[in-house]
Symmetry: C2
Subunit: 342 residues, 2 copies
Amino acid sequence: MWVEPYPDISPEKPLFLCILANTGTARIPGISAAGKSPEMTDYTPAADAELVETGRVFSISEPAMCPSGAPTPAVLTRASILLTGIPCLFINAGLNVKPKVPFIDLNAHPGEDIRKTRAVTDAADIYRTSADLGRKLSKLSDLVIIGESVPGGTTTAMGVMRALGYDGRVSSSFPDNPVGIKERVVNEGMKASGIAFGSLKNQPLRAVECMGDPMMAAAAGLVDGLGKKTILAGGTQMVSVLSIIKALGLKRDVSIATTCYVADDKSANFREMTELLGYPGFAADPGFANCAVTGLQMYERGEVKEGVGAGGAMFAAAMLGFSQKEFREKCVEVYRSVFSIS
Amino acid sequence: MWVEPYPDISPEKPLFLCILANTGTARIPGISAAGKSPEMTDYTPAADAELVETGRVFSISEPAMCPSGAPTPAVLTRASILLTGIPCLFINAGLNVKPKVPFIDLNAHPGEDIRKTRAVTDAADIYRTSADLGRKLSKLSDLVIIGESVPGGTTTAMGVMRALGYDGRVSSSFPDNPVGIKERVVNEGMKASGIAFGSLKNQPLRAVECMGDPMMAAAAGLVDGLGKKTILAGGTQMVSVLSIIKALGLKRDVSIATTCYVADDKSANFREMTELLGYPGFAADPGFANCAVTGLQMYERGEVKEGVGAGGAMFAAAMLGFSQKEFREKCVEVYRSVFSIS
């Protein structure tokens, strides 16, 4: 099975949501590989949405990629959307650069640098608004898969998990996880907010406000409002959302689906954390070792790993009966089309 | 029956959409009663969305109403949403003032004054984007009701119908329809665009570009993309959308639902036009003559008449089995809550 465990469900009206946000944290040099430079990470969520929706990008001159040249995981997500026909809606949870494709606007502000006192000033508003949106969407869909594109998001994830009392070790879009920088930034942020490890374990939205990013408040609010079956599509960033949901005491049927690259990342502890938190976890392997395309093979060497809901997008493809080979071939097709390689 | 003919359908997953747009045309003095002054009409769609969603308004100090004090039809729409539980999503098809509640953003520009050469510069883009959105939503909903809040929209409706070769006489939010001003503005607009009665009958999107507003392109695009059963919720503005759909040659299962106030408006020709165009029409009577509340009684004297999908909202309530009395009582409850009258 290319997705483990096999997603043995047959929803009638699945829906894919992708939450987009920017933060000041992503602009700290060395934090994020989701963009060719720290400043360019502002454009990454918009470009990812454009790529998933249209196969092209409008907000920047070329599709988002790592400094190494590995392509954005939006390629994987688009492949799944094309294969499965699942409708995909984007959510602006706080962007400096808005995508040139339709999106749902939550009227949220971009996140600040977590080294400031407050990183997400409107966390409670975002949560409430998202819960309202979730309640509406629950009347239209019986399975919602929630992905994200938030550069710098593993650092905020680490920050929130620490504030909630978890040693959540986070993954990275770099092959060599810049753990030292993340630790330093998180420590500075906790100091600025006057908090310690676990000191906000009963105030998860306050933890987001101090140390998180707007996506977390949006994702947790959606899970609350949706009520029914939800799949968080992401790696350690979505683990931090699980830790928030647990701390909020929400009783919801929620699982997490990520790529094998995050699940097997030794610098992180994805499996350990999902088990500790008590939520079902899925890991998907696109089998890019057998891939004719160099850009996608780079994933096998630890580049990029996850994002734009790529793991959940594979979960969706497997759920609807598509094989690893069919998915991989669609990825190659999308990659060649996007990067004009024949 | 308070809705004629009775809406004898039972959709599984109905959805209500409300398209919001501003135009320069609305700022022409005497054109629109949808706001206390011509400048204030910029705030009306945002305030309407806020009222439907939350029962309060944030973008202005008090809810949108006519200069006379008659309340916005958003009151009727909120009553229906509360009764039926149908999810409602707002669409920004070109706003100067965005609502402080979530909305789907089409990346569209507000419309210009139709006395300029081009009123909707991005009509084709809006149409295409909306059709894409419609295709997604068609996978989630089997009946979509599409309303609008576009001040000044009956003048642009008249303009587009003239360009397409129809003597579409339009209704008004004023009790005394300012037909003379509308005629003058439409004539000036046709002159500026170098077009004559019927000269664009084979170019409906060009007619929107010259004489229309962004809502029309969005509504027609949605109908195209949705494919399945759609109800246009509105009066003569939505008749203009029907004329566009017909001119485009779209074969779709589309109907129109409005209030009795528009259907029976002698200054307009709603019934004649829907018959001529060949689409089923529904008219809904909330029975406000029997209403304890002065503000709503004003509708019986020809104030406001329609907007924010009020006619379609009543269609939805009747479709789900609610009586005129239940609907009216919910309107009174919403009105009293919104205007803090006990």
